[in-house]
Symmetry: C2
Subunit: 205 residues, 2 copies
């Protein structure tokens, strides 16, 4: 097997689009989620994010990475305005609609309408859930932290509402997200189904 070795200078010399595609491949498989928001005038927004991560279980916290200068900026503006948002798993049925939310829509356009996804307002929660998603999470903003090196933001929220198909919740507490139809991403363009190999026991030394 031939190996390619690139050092930091060689990476810097790559053509922009190629470097972006390459570096986005490096973290490994990615979570795919739709983040639903609304601004104070009632204009809703939904956008795909591949950077949602677990932050803690008690209190239940989730994080995601956002760039203030990108197409994602409406999401972060709305979260700053209202302090509420939803995270909704992308599944096999809606991955093409979800991908389309990454296009540059205008501030007064609804990405829900433009991409064929449906708002789902419930529990008197201010932000819209995505009806077509099987795993839906409503969060309240706790903290926005800035990465100095390149001005990206880590947005942290606490889970206030959680919805999922009852049949995917196992005795151990784990959700079978594969059974729920959730999918994985790679780089900025790859959409993958998964196949469980094994669930491992808690490791002991």
């Amino acid at each position: 097997m031939m190996l390619t070795h690139l050092d930091n200078c060689q990476i810097g010399d790559l053509e922009d689009r190629k470097r972006i595609a390459l570096i986005n491949s490096l973290s490994g498989f990615k979570s795919l989620n739709l983040i639903g928001t609304v601004n104070k005038h009632g204009q809703n927004n939904v956008a795909i994010f591949n950077s949602v991560v677990h932050i803690g279980a008690n209190p239940p916290l989730m994080g995601f990475i956002s760039r203030p200068d990108s197409v994602e900026k409406h999401t972060i503006e709305n979260i700053r305005e209202t302090a509420y948002y939803t995270i909704n798993h992308v599944n096999k049925e809606i991955f093409e609609n979800a991908h389309q939310t990454s296009a540059r829509y205008k501030r007064d356009e609804s990405e829900f309408e433009a991409t064929g996804l449906t708002t789902d307002y419930k529990f008197f929660f201010p932000a819209p859930f995505v009806r077509e998603s099987n795993i839906q999470i409503g969060l309240e903003l706790k903290e926005i932290i800035s990465v100095k090196t390149n001005n990206t933001l880590l947005v942290i929220g606490e889970i206030k509402h959680l919805l999922f198909p009852s049949e995917v919740w196992g005795e151990s507490g784990v959700l079978d997200i594969e059974k729920a139809g959730s999918i994985a991403g790679s780089s900025l363009d790859g959409y993958h189904t998964t196949q469980l190999m094994k669930r491992m026991k808690y490791a002991k030394a």
Copy 2:
């Protein structure tokens, strides 16, 4: 389809282990990486992380979430001491070894030896790569940011070296990480292979 709805009080009332397994399921599929480090006395360490995320392509930056109070603390201590570390994709062949690195080993034990993984020192890079991994990344620490809400850390590093099988690098710049054998995780126990459904074009409004 029956739905389960939990609000924040019901989540708080769950038994600890069950809540941890549930909340860890919510971000979606996770990247699985081994982080290799060494302390100033030459004692190496390797640990599995499911929270590595893309931070930026120019400069090429990656991040991961760490808890100072957990089994992951040797990794963060070593990174603070030496400023260098490696990120190595977990693949189908080594996922059981990789999982075993999450056990609580003592400070003076090498998780490499204990779990059957092999250190790979090269390019005069201070931290060990994982020989069994097909995609290997050497990074220099740039920034450690603290999440106030629960004292987790976001660790940001810049890519200095990158190695991958030449045959998985496509014209567009994307690495075919599925072809490289990389796998995805779910919650704290699930290991999954993937199957590409589709690569999507850059979305336009």
